[in-house]
């Protein structure tokens, strides 16, 4: 029990930059496309979006800093892929907080209903 709690605690500080990186419509849509069709180049990612290559590049760097994408050279191009490890950790952190609220809500229910 205490082990799982400290594991969650480690994730807490890691999770915040992940969620911050996700709080942007363009970055979310980039992640969505990478999750379906990745790895993709900047050219692929800017096609049909109406967003400039420069802007896409900036967003990809932000996602890279948060540990959500990594890039690799493929021939002459640089391709970007989703990095799921950090996303999974962030999700586990949120699951942990969510479970705490489930338990609190159940205790509140028991507390107010016992007198009824």
């Amino acid at each position: 029990m205490s082990r799982s709690r400290s594991a969650a605690a480690l994730k807490a500080t890691e999770a915040v930059p992940v969620f911050a990186a996700l709080a942007d419509a363009t970055r979310l849509s980039l992640l969505g496309r990478l999750s379906v069709n990745g790895p993709l180049s900047i050219t692929n990612l800017s096609e049909g979006t109406g967003v400039t290559r420069q802007a896409i590049t900036r967003h990809l760097h932000a996602l890279g800093r948060a540990g959500l994408v990594r890039d690799a050279r493929q021939g002459r191009e640089r391709v970007f892929a989703l990095d799921l490890k950090r996303l999974e950790k962030a999700r586990q952190y949120l699951d942990h907080v969510s479970a705490s609220w489930d338990a609190a809500a159940a205790r509140l229910k028991a507390f107010v209903e016992e007198e009824a």
């Binding site: 915040v16 969620f19 709080a23 969505g32 999750s35 949120l94 907080v97």
Partner: protein, 160 residues
Amino acid sequence: MTAEAQMVQDSTSTDRIEKNVVLRAPRSRVWRAITNAKEFETWFRMKLDGEIVPGATIYGTVTRPGNEHVSPIEMLIEQVEPERYFSYRWHPYALDAAVNYSAEPMTLVEFILKETDGGTAVTIIESGFDGIPLARRKEAFRMNDGGWTGQMKNLAQYVA
């Protein structure tokens, strides 16, 4: 209720956690359990050093066995609208002594009460896990126009 709250029902996204529960008790009873410090302590398992009044800063000490070493948690009481709405800010609900909570962003916790058949519907929302001030986040939500949920569903399916 915020626009985001209306958009998402019982759900967990990357920014917010929402719980909906129906309690078989009158709204006045539920309200007292949530906003009377002594009653709050009982079910929340956290001892408060002050009363729940708007604008107050109080500290909560975890009373759950095995958590006595956790340092008191700062709670900034925001709105207290009798039998309807109660909100406060604190550091996210993941109690652990190993964490330096002051380095984490504060989240907003909201309790929303509504009368319903046979009892009281309570919605609990904790939001702000991305550490982004509420005003800026609202902007992001507006721009996103609901796309957030769909995108996250894709990602969730992918990582599941």
